[in-house]
């Protein structure tokens, strides 16, 4: 029954739109014929104290009377100097005070919604509430069951839904004020109200779906950001973060300024012991930069890794069977000598093809992705792992951090990559020249 009604309403709405030649342009901008504001005189007097953007825009719209002006333009003009929340609010305020009848408010709200991201207020619940407040109160509330049955003021209702929809898309949870406003504007059983209720049903349920949440505001200090990012990638809670170098500028004898970028590294005890056991004849690689996205920020990190250990080199540590067998009572027994396998019915393991990967020994983030910086990192790592000095280190760096590679960049880059793909000797500790 209800769904049928809704369907009818939609049909009516479409027809209505066709009849009135009312279309929304593809970009969502609503073009309207700007009629002269009834209150223009009042406006100009009352807004003497209001300065700059709004006034300017207002005057211009006045001068271009009877021309096609979009509400977007008002925003554009209002924000000539800067697109801030304050300016945005001012535009809304002006619109609200302009006309007691709030003529054209639907178009205004659509335009405002579109402009929100540019003003950086798309995440702000108070702004949404302010926009909702633009709707005249009580006018659209159905007064009897027939009105309630049919789509009462469809354009307005749809606009309200659209506003909530935008909130939903930005993940903004409506608050009590939103609810009160909706009730005042559309009544308790309107479409926007239903939308609100649906949002309030689902949003809390999905609020904590991400097991690895990222804070809304990332740390601004690059070292703190690096700490956060590295801890996020490293799965081992024991992994220790070391700041090898803080950002400093040295002045050389010739008077040049040399920037020493920050280096923040992370290494777990297990990685450390693996690195200590690394076969000295096999090289380790410094690779990167690899991107890590944190909301809208992209940071880059570098790896110290090695190729997988070939099976013949793997030394399986074997304990004395006496020690780990069941016939002793001091140490943890790990073995029973039985010729019986696990029953198929109790074998819950999946058949997984294990693809073996080489070990990753350490990770770092640095202010600069050049070899000097990363070589500095490697030599700092040697403090905790002296054997690293005897291991050939190969730098395989792609173009430095910064922009992510676009598809066209990727096509060009192979040669570049090949060029940078060379070996540097690790100062005095390592004398053997390794050819790749």
């Amino acid at each position: 029954m209800v769904s049928e009604l809704i369907h009818i309403c939609r049909l009516r709405k479409q027809k209505w739109r066709q009849r009135h030649g009312w279309t929304r342009s593809e970009k969502g901008a609503v073009i309207i014929v700007l009629r002269s504001f009834h209150c223009s005189a009042v406006c100009s007097t009352s807004q003497q104290d209001q300065k700059e953007p709004k006034e300017a825009s207002e005057r211009e719209t006045q001068s271009k009377d009877r021309t096609l002006v979009t509400h977007e333009d008002i925003f554009e003009k209002a924000a000539k100097n800067s697109k801030t929340k304050g300016n945005f609010n001012r535009v809304v305020d002006v619109f609200t005070k302009n006309d007691i009848r709030r003529r054209g408010h639907v178009e205004f709200i659509y335009a405002a919604l579109k402009q929100m991201p540019e003003f950086g207020v798309e995440q702000d619940i108070t702004v949404y509430n302010k926009l909702l407040d633009v709707f005249p109160k009580e006018v659209f509330v159905p007064r009897n069951f027939i009105q309630r049955m049919f789509n009462h003021y469809p354009r307005q209702q749809e606009c309200g839904v659209q506003l909530l929809e935008q909130m939903e898309n930005y993940g903004i949870m409506p608050n009590v004020e939103t609810k009160v406003l909706l009730a005042q504007v559309f009544g308790k059983k309107s479409h926007p109200m239903r939308k609100y209720q649906r949002i309030m049903y689902w949003f809390p349920k999905f609020k904590h779906t991400n097991p690895y949440p990222i804070p809304q505001v990332l740390p601004s200090d690059p070292i703190d950001l690096a700490r956060f990012s590295l801890a996020r990638i490293a799965s081992d809670p024991d992994a220790k973060i070391t700041v090898f170098q803080y950002q400093t500028t040295d002045i050389t004898e010739t008077g040049e300024e040399v920037l020493r970028p920050y280096i923040v590294g992370i290494q777990s005890p297990e990685q450390r012991s693996l690195l200590a056991k690394h076969n000295h004849c096999r090289p380790v690689f410094v690779e990167g930069p690899f991107p890590l996205w944190l909301r809208k920020t992209c940071v880059h990190y570098y790896l110290l890794r090695a190729d997988p250990i070939p099976p013949e080199e793997k030394v399986k540590k074997e304990f004395d069977p006496e020690w780990i067998g069941p016939e002793q009572s001091l140490f943890y027994p790990q073995r029973v000598e039985l010729d019986l396998e696990r029953d198929i019915g109790d074998d819950d393991s999946f058949d997984v093809d294990d693809v073996e990967e080489g070990p990753v020994y350490a990770m770092c983030m640095a202010g600069q992705g050049d070899e000097t910086t990363l070589a500095q990192w490697i030599s700092d790592l040697q403090e905790t792992c002296p054997t690293l000095g005897q291991i050939p280190t190969v730098f395989r760096l792609e173009s430095g951090p910064g922009e992510l590679l676009t598809s066209s960049d990727v096509q060009q880059s192979p040669e570049l990559e090949f060029e940078t793909d060379h070996i540097i000797e690790d100062e005095p500790l390592y004398s053997k020249r390794v050819k790749q």
Partner: protein, 628 residues
């Protein structure tokens, strides 16, 4: 039609079973005869046989006794020791100062308590395991002294006693027996105590081949600060038959006088504060090769022998402590008035005393049964039994001390009463000499290994789908479900259990039979991967401990009735109560062990723990948190 067929089938199967049973019975009789002949070299142990669903009643019935002379000797010995502990030992002071005063130690030495089990020819008391357990009841009244004594003789010098040669015995035992020298046992090392790989102490042969140089550090060494003689375990390089060099553990007798030994600061502990626990480090300690205990590379067996057989005395120690607590607490409960009634009249208080009495009774029964088994001629392997005694008594003691403290309420929590000290002291019982977790694994896996070797063939046949075997098993199950009688011959005409305990004995038999089939199904399901099923193994161990405890109380109570000991009716009451309780616990545990049983929560338990461990925190949101 079908039903009829089934009936016929089951009948025939039953017939077949009977035939087989008859044959088995015959073979069994043969075995028994054989056993009688070579009674000195006992290879079978009671607990392991339970894994096969067999009750080897000859091992545990009748309850072991000591001769009248021994009893008299013991009573003579016990009296002065008891007097000494009641009058001379100031446990509160020992606990507070964290040191046993020299005059107390001297008193202990004079009583000969440093050489209880050292043969008389070396100047010790030369007592049996049973007598040692009896003395343990008294020494346990002070935890610190008990641990000091145990570290000295139950593990410290035991190596020399059981595996040393005559020369070593002659050289070291006399001084150790008098307490002039104190011994320590050095096995555990930094890192995790239960990890075999952690033994890093190394002994290298000097060039002249006459000495070993020991290097390394040992942790948690009881008596480490004042020990003169140490049994040290270290890795040595041994060339095996294939000519390959291998690291093997060797046991050494190390005198502090050899030099290069440094002991660390004594640990500040929660309980047994008077005992000395510290770290010992060896640096190029020169040990002559004559001081190797047993053979080079054979140290592991020595260590296991020492540890496996040293644990049984914890049962009597726990019982001794609880008996003392019952005396102390009941006095309070009898005199303290609340609401015009004495505490003793309240049901919940009575419950606590019943718990204490039951636990003390079971512990005692288990400890002396095991001690008696170990005192039999031959080299009985009672390690599983001893481990069970240790687990049961350490956990029982903890519960009982806590209950005793609860009776006193707030008073028990203060230092004016000894309860808090007992509570702290007995916490260590669950930790040292093999943690209870490791011991549970040991118990379960040793039994599984034993049963697995025998059952492997049968299970393989079954898996192959050998109809004969499958039918045999089906028939057995059918028979069990129809005729619900399991009879191991404990009761009835030739029964070994007194008729007043018949019901309990039946319960025990039923449990034992079910245990056998449970073990079989576990082996069928998990095979050698059973090692990884720790939660199942824990249940297996718990069932076995209960079964052994039931055996012990049945055996003991039977003896008491039969010879008319004082208050034997009370023992019957205790035995019946315990058995009924254990029966239901066992049934529940074994139901959990069935495949897909709804009672089994293991998977969820694992998951709960894994989530928490992955985050290293309690991960639930706070109940007051909101999302909007």
């Amino acid at each position: 039609m079908n039903l009829n067929k089934l009936f016929v089938l089951s009948k025939s199967v039953k017939l077949g079973r009977n035939l087989i049973a008859a044959r088995v019975g015959h073979v069994g009789a043969g075995c028994l005869q054989k056993r009688c002949i070579r009674s000195s070299a006992r290879s079978l142990a009671y607990a392991k046989d339970l894994f096969l669903g067999k009750v080897n009643k000859a091992e545990v019935f009748p309850y072991p006794e000591i001769s009248n002379e021994e009893l008299e000797e013991m009573n003579q010995l016990v009296q002065p020791v008891e007097k000494f502990f009641n009058e001379e030992v100031d446990s509160k002071k020992i606990d507070h100062d964290a040191v046993i005063p020299p005059e107390t130690l001297n008193g202990l030495k004079e009583l000969g308590l440093f050489g209880i089990q050292i043969p008389e020819e070396y100047g010790g008391l030369g007592l049996s395991n049973t007598m040692y357990a009896r003395l343990g009841e008294i020494t346990s009244l002070d935890g610190a002294i008990a641990v000091t004594l145990a570290a000295h003789q139950a593990i410290g010098l035991k190596g020399i006693l059981i595996a040393g040669n005559d020369e070593q015995k002659n050289k070291y035992l006399p001084k150790l027996a008098t307490g002039e020298h104190i011994a320590a046992f050095c096995l555990t090392e930094p890192g995790s105590g239960s990890d075999a790989a952690s033994v890093q102490t190394r002994a290298t042969l000097t060039e002249d081949g006459k000495h070993y140089l020991i290097n390394g550090t040992k942790f948690w060494i009881s008596n480490g600060g004042w020990a003169d003689i140490m049994t040290v375990f270290a890795r040595t390089e041994v060339v095996d038959e294939d000519g390959q060099k291998k690291d093997k553990i060797t046991a050494f007798i190390v005198e502090r006088a050899f030099g290069g030994i440094a002991s660390g600061k004594p640990e500040d502990k929660l309980g047994i504060r008077g005992s000395n626990t510290c770290e010992i480090s060896f640096e190029d300690t020169k040990v002559p090769i004559e001081n190797v205990i047993g053979e080079v590379g054979g140290g592991f067996k020595v260590a296991m022998n020492i540890l496996n057989n040293g644990r049984f005395s914890m049962g009597s120690a726990g019982a001794g402590m609880i008996k003392k607590l019952i005396e102390l607490t009941s006095e309070y409960a009898g005199t303290r008035k609340q609401f015009n009634r004495s505490l003793a009249e309240f049901g919940m208080i009575q419950d606590k005393f019943a718990t204490m009495a039951l636990n003390a009774f079971v512990m005692e029964s288990m400890a002396y049964l095991t001690a008696g088994m170990m005192d039999r001629p031959g080299v009985p392997d009672c390690s599983v039994e001893a481990a069970m005694v240790k687990i049961f008594s350490s956990e029982g003691s903890w519960i009982c001390v806590s209950e005793a403290l609860q009776v006193l309420g707030g008073l028990g929590f203060t230092k004016n009463y000894p309860y808090e000290r007992y509570l702290r002291d007995c916490r260590i019982l669950q930790i040292f000499e093999g943690t209870n977790e490791i011991l549970r694994m040991y118990i379960a896996l040793t039994g599984m290994q034993y049963a697995g070797k025998i059952l492997t063939g049968k299970i393989k046949e079954m898996k192959k789908g050998n109809l004969g075997v499958v039918f045999e098993i089906l028939g057995k199950k059918l028979k069990d479900s129809v005729v619900k009688t399991v009879d191991f011959g404990l009761t009835g005409k030739d029964g070994v259990v007194h008729p007043s305990l018949t019901e309990s004995a039946k319960m025990f038999e039923e449990n034992a039979a079910l245990f056998g089939s449970t073990v079989e199904s576990l082996l069928y399901r998990y095979g050698k991967t059973i090692v990884d099923e720790q939660l199942a193994l824990k249940k297996v161990a718990d069932v076995l401990i209960n079964l052994y405890a039931m055996t012990a109380v049945l055996s003991r109570a039977t003896r008491s009735i039969n010879i008319g000991l004082r208050n034997h009716d009370y023992e019957v009451l205790l035995a019946n109560t315990f058995c009924k309780d254990a029966y239901f616990k066992n049934n529940y545990l074994m139901t959990q062990l069935q495949k897909n049983s709804p009672e089994n929560n293991d998977a969820s338990i694992k998951k709960i723990a894994q989530e928490v461990l992955a985050k290293r925190a309690y991960i639930c949101s706070h109940p007051l948190d909101r999302t909007y």
